[in-house]
Amino acid sequence: MGEHGGSSVELLRLITAGSVDDGKSTLIGRILFDARALQSDQLSALSRARHARTISADAQLDLALITDGLESEREQGITIDVAYRYFRSAVRRYILADAPGHEQYTRNLVTGASQADVGIILIDASKPGLAAGSDSLPAQTLRHTAILRLLRLSHLVFVVSKMDLIAFDEGVFKRIEALVQRLRADLGIESGPCIPVSALLGDGVTYPSIRAPWYRGPSLMQYLDALSIPQRAEPGLARRDGALVFPVQVALRHAGNSQQPLRAYLGTILRGCMFPGQEVVAYGSGAYARVKAVYPASESRLQPTGPGGASDPAPTPGIPIPSDQDRPSNPIHAATPVAVVLDRPIDLERGDMLGSQPPATPESSRAAPPPGAPQAPGSSANTTEPHALRALATSPEAATELLADFCWLDNQPLDLRRRYALRHTTRLVKVMVTAVEGTLNLETMRYSNAGKAVGANTIGVFRIALQQPIFAETFRSCRALGAFVLIDEVRHRTLAAGMIREIVRIRDDDRFENG
């Protein structure tokens, strides 16, 4: 498991957001062109394309058309849906999601942003208002920034585009930069650069701008290549520190048919680590068990596919599961898909969660971890991260009422009379939205009071009552344990993205008191 040792990130996920015609597609085309990620047939297809918008001087191509993949997009000259691009710099690989700017496609922006580590927000320097000294950024820019902030991307970088159209005017750039600083302060976004670029001419994107000598900061790609992102962002938003959190994705009752009984649990370790002999608790039932064996999927030893291997594909009845003494007990870390076998049958199914300590209660979340709690072999190697170990005291809470930020994505408005389904990790529970506490006014960046209708693209805060608990934390403390979606099970629609602000009420019972 060598990839768990280093802290370098070999893959960074980006999302670009900006208003209509801010030059986003051209910027991406430029990044790909400079990274030599475009191949000769793609370039010749661009020169064949019927709907050219802007032609760059050096490439002699409409770079924007690279990302606009759909026919209707090319006809209308806009981006409708997220397009994913893959390229690499000298430093690392990138996945870039190009998200649409139009308000009616906000759900696509949210989709792209939920996967991203870094947000790139474009501001068009040539917009008449900005050039003339307007004292606010365009409403779409505010909305996109608010959404990326809500989704807690690790970094947000602002790019001031189309500098060639304002003759690389330093004064205009400085005014925009000041507006960006104010927006960062308003939304509580950590500082980061504001980079002047001309994607058309290639200034400031991969290479430093030669036409803006007054700008001393990095080019966009220099900045991105130099970023270090905490490991938690990848993949599945997993973290390596802390106590074990293992959501059960698939519960197997037998190996193919009922004559071959087997209880194995498949899933990806969300946080912490797992090892044979470890004592674990099922958050749903409160039952304790020990891990008998844990098999990382990546180390599955499949029979070689060669002639002669065809005879006996089915496993023999009663798969021999070695006891923990028979196996080297290397801990298996977060973000690893595994199959787990426990030492005794307990009540555990898809949507349940295994932890190395019981769910937090108001008392336990203030207390230190219990003495004698199972320790991972080799966990002393983690002493270089004392803060991470202190954070280990937290574990998910059995939440039955939530206060959460949301972004409503469906065309049908929220109906407070309806019962919806809520999906959190692998768990699906029935819920009611009991109150809308406020909706975000994008002009003022303030939340207004309740009572407003919630429809497509509304951002707000609501209160949810759950029929069964989910094992959750706030989105601020852990993205994977704080994120959920609302689902309309009748219409089979994904209604809203949710981010837990506060766990208002937790399950009131005593099943863990003697644990």
């Binding site: 993949g69 090319r74 993949p235 599945g236 498949l266 990806t268 499949l302 994120a483 959920f484």
Partner: protein, 310 residues
Amino acid sequence: MSATVPAMAEQGHLLRLEAESIEIIREVAAQCLRPALLFSGGKDSAVLLHLARKAFCLGEHALPLPFTLLHVDTGHNFPEVIAFRDRIAAQVGATLCVGSVEASIARGSVRLEHALASRNAAQAVTLLETIASGGFDGLMAGARRDEEKSRAKERIFSFRDAFGQWDPRRQRPELWNLFHASVAPGEHMRIFPLSNWTELDVWEYIGREGIELPGLYFAHLRKVFRRQGLLVPLSHLTPAEHNDAVEEIMVRFRTVGDISCTCLVASTAATVEEVIAETAVASVTERGATRLDDQTSEASMERRKREGYF
């Protein structure tokens, strides 16, 4: 290890892609009532099947796959690929369900302009018939976003209506790793666990895992002629016309599909390592180098996908 085998950082990247794909495959097994995996014997589907087996495995004990394998046979597939498909399906112990374009032609649901016309587009009809008769609600396939522009816009869990159509304006929001696969009767999901893989990733993974492929993917001598700048294999479905100059050269297939529209690349790469080295410096995309049918219009893949094509 030879010099062409990727460095450790690249291997870490493969582990991440593998983890993401396995999580997706397990999610399909958990959420879909009747899932299937499209297995053509091509390299992407061989990687997908390998990942599916790893997803359902306890160490060295493979568990039965909780999906049917599905293939749409145009009747114009390379015989060695069909033989490979059948052998691997038997070896894995999976049920293989084959939909036949020939049968659709016999039924009258597919009509071709002429006997040798490409059956590639007709696959969509047969596929939808196969989905309906098998009652499948989730179909996994090995398509990747780096293949083509409209694929680049497709969700990992991609919704299809009762007519099998992909509507780019009605794609489901797809948030974090909280995939949502439920559909109404008659509708289905197509799931692409390799969405975030590139052609190079696929080859590096084939090398790392020792995944077996049909021999067509490696350099061999073959009679070919040139058309529209592409190398066309000489076959009864793609006969040379009088002004086509037939030559016999070293070639390999970069993609393997219907004979009538799959072309070759000139290559001497006879091993996975050599293919990786060649792919890393390729100057033309995979489909651009090998597909006659994608070049008819800028949006031909998008149009076919709207009609139910993969």
